[in-house]
Amino acid sequence: MATAAVPTSVLQLRPASRFGDRAFEWLTFAMSLGVVVLVILVGWQLARGSHLAITKFGFHFLATSTWDPVAEQYGALPFIYGTVVSSLLALIIAVPLSIATAIYLTELAPLWIRQPLASGIEMLAAIPSVILGLWGIFVMIPWLRAHAFPALKAALGWTPFFTGPIYGVSMLAGGIIIAIMILPIITSVAREIMRSVPNLQREAAYALGATKWEVTRIAVLSYAKNGLFGAAILGLGRALGETMAVTMVIGNTPQIKASLFAPGYTLASVIANEFTEATTDMYLQALFEIGLVLFGITILANLLAQLLLKTMTRKMTTRVAQ
């Protein structure tokens, strides 16, 4: 079949080379694989840097509590203990505060307050860890030592947690500073979750004559439970890996003490403090292994958090779809 004659065109009508398209797609694909390469790189470096220590100390590394580089004795237990305890303390402080703040922001606060308050919380998130640590050393610690800790000791000194000499630098100070660092992330994730609760839920509760708090509890909190748990675990992931601020206020003493007034040490802090001092190969190996442990537990916490938040969003979408 004859078709219309072709007018000439300034555009070359030869098939454009598809090389550009192929090359660009491959280039972007290669770049996106960068993240995969990075994960492998992290795992590989940490494993390579620590395999001597792993084979030499085995499980003892995690279970013994003597950290004496001079005697070539490396037990990571005090650091694991310090990381876990300071992070849990941080969660105990931060989770209720964050969730209450998120409730305030989404359900209770007058409209004109919401945006500035949310921006303020974002600003808090932007403050570098090292600056929080600076503030911790020169403002928070002296105040804790002079006022808060003595008061705590007077009130709760009969428990094993608030006994012993007060230095200021302590596990509790570490917990508080980490709490400040993770407040913004938990608050903003919790806020997102509460905001995504369909208004229908609230209206249904109001229609039953519930008070504002009852609406929040019934319609919002019970509904968002999983997601809020996810937000808390996300905060935990951050807390476990927090380095500078903690290092500056926790006291950096590898010991396991019941008292929260006693100085402690965390996995991240010992890496920060001792890495450049690691004179022997085994010392460096032990520190790499600490890094591996830290990497492992933060990954676990983050995976758990993502899982919880994913199921939360899935629940949301299916309910909305109904």
Partner: protein, 284 residues
């Protein structure tokens, strides 16, 4: 009668809960106010010309400044961007424009995992990767650690803003016989350019204050850095060193450095606000 009493009780409970929540909000925002207050009080008085122009003095001697750390931070961020921006942006392009659902889910997951890696770990990794083999701390090592941290951040934001570009623009460009990659670069990425820049700025603000990954990569330097293969000073590192030192003058300078760093970070965030406002206006 008892029904009304019950109602009163419930109302009181609601009121108390509201009150507690507002107190919590106050407690959450309080550290910000306190930090600002002390930053201004202790930092402002120590910001002087010498702080911006002088090198640090030898240990314990008063005076001197952070000129080398300020410049060093700039160099580190610029070098880090050299790694983080192309990889992150182009990776984000793949996610938004090419990847299949399954590949994308995997890549996003991996990026989110990376975002959760503690920053000190990046220092350890780059130490093993660069510092050990080359037997020297260096600006390269420090910026590599920061650049690695930027990649997943930028990748995710780039993807997000590219997906906001309406498909109609892609179709219009392709219907003009423009090739796919030129459509992506000249039409889609150009349309989303503010958003991409915003993502890059946010990533820079995130890493500008990072200290942990620099401790044993960039390491710090009391003098000017003469070669990128040598240790280099950085503002957050200097703040840390001075903060934990026993000298009052150094503490003073640590506050000044902190004030400068926070001001820089907030300036970037302000810029981001400005940019995103423009974009919101255009979409509407």
């Amino acid at each position: 009668m008892s029904g009304s009493a019950n109602h009163q009780f419930r109302k009181a409970k609601s009121l108390i809960a509201s009150l507690l929540c507002s107190v919590a909000a106050l407690l959450v925002i309080a550290p910000l106010g306190l930090i600002f207050f002390y930053l201004l009080r202790s930092g402002l008085s120590s910001l002087n010309v010498a702080f911006f122009t002088n090198l640090p003095r030898p240990v314990g001697e008063p005076g001197g400044g952070m000129a080398n750390a300020i410049v060093g931070s700039g160099e580190l961020l610029a070098l880090a961007s050299l790694i983080g921006v192309p990889v992150g942006v182009l990776g984000g392009v793949y996610l938004a424009e090419y990847g299949t659902a399954r590949v994308n889910a995997l890549l996003r997951f991996v990026a989110d995992v990376l975002n959760g890696v503690p920053s000190i770990i990046w220092g350890v990794v780059v130490y093993g990767l660069i510092v050990l083999p080359f037997k020297s701390f260096s600006a390269y090592a420090g910026s590599l650690a920061l650049g690695f941290m930027m990649i997943p951040l930028i990748m995710r934001t780039t993807e997000e803003v590219l997906l906001l570009v309406p498909g109609g623009y892609r179709e219009a460009a392709l219907a003009l016989g423009i090739s796919r990659w030129k459509t992506i670069v000249h039409i889609v990425m150009k349309t989303a350019s503010k958003g991409i820049v915003t993502g890059v700025l946010l990533a820079l603000a995130r890493i500008a204050g990072e200290t942990a990954p620099l401790l044993f990569t960039a390491f710090g330097n009391r003098f000017w850095n003469r070669s990128l293969a040598e240790p280099i000073a950085a503002l957050p590192l200097q703040i840390f060193t001075y903060a934990i030192s026993p000298y009052d003058d150094w503490h003073r300078q640590a506050w000044a450095g902190a004030l400068l760093l926070v001001a820089m970070i907030f300036l970037i965030n302000l810029l981001v606000r400005f940019l995103t406002r423009g974009r919101a206006a255009r979409v509407a």
